[in-house]
Point group: C2
Chain length 124, copies 2
């Protein structure tokens, strides 16, 4: 009898734990979606945009000026954020105004800061 019913290049050390956790895991699609959400937030430019939008509705040029980046680059990032349901926009004349479309962003930023402060306390 194989000592390993799981497909992997190594043995199961604690069958009880592996069985229990295997049952408790969420489905792959949900894990992918959570990962995508954090992947999109996990980039300096985008988190700056979100931090700014949390304080004010802003048009593309204004965001570009605050971050000292090209409007093309900002527009690309806003498009990615929009596809992921994190920001939304409205058009008014020539300008396009962006706002947050996710009430969790503030918490996400706060949690990130808490993590960093926790780590820096540990070192110091």
């Amino acid at each position: 009898m194989s000592k390993n019913e799981y497909i992997c290049d190594c043995n199961v050390i604690h069958k009880d734990v592996v069985d229990k956790i295997s049952k408790e895991m969420l489905n792959n699609s949900l894990f992918s979606k959570i990962a995508d959400f954090y992947k999109i937030i996990g980039a300096t430019t985008r988190i700056k945009i979100l931090y700014a939008l949390d304080k004010n509705e802003m048009c593309v040029c204004d965001i570009a000026n605050v971050l000292s980046m090209s409007k093309s680059s900002i527009s690309h990032q806003l498009s990615a954020l929009r596809k992921n349901g994190i920001v939304k926009c409205r058009k008014d004349g020539k300008e396009v105004y962006y706002t947050l479309d996710d009430e969790h962003i503030k918490k996400v930023i706060e949690l990130g800061i808490e993590h960093i402060e926790h780590k820096e306390k540990e070192i110091g």
Copy 2:
């Protein structure tokens, strides 16, 4: 006189907003650290590992079996998580046992799920 004191390929549309937000922005280093934290969480394999570790301390082989992946791959990811202060480990005989080293991980996963549920409600 230049109508734009900011360095960018476009004009400032709302000087008041740009000035206000520019002052309110955090420093670049903090934004980078927040982004790094979420970048490391924002990958399917790693979020699965964290989800599993949130439920149980586990050794590398057991994690590899739960995720049906090679122990080398899991070890690489655990190493990245450890460098970022997200997991910690203890050695016992041949095995190395990993646990979460960040009390915010549970909240991070919950926030991710809330975001996804919120988005799916909007569509459906």
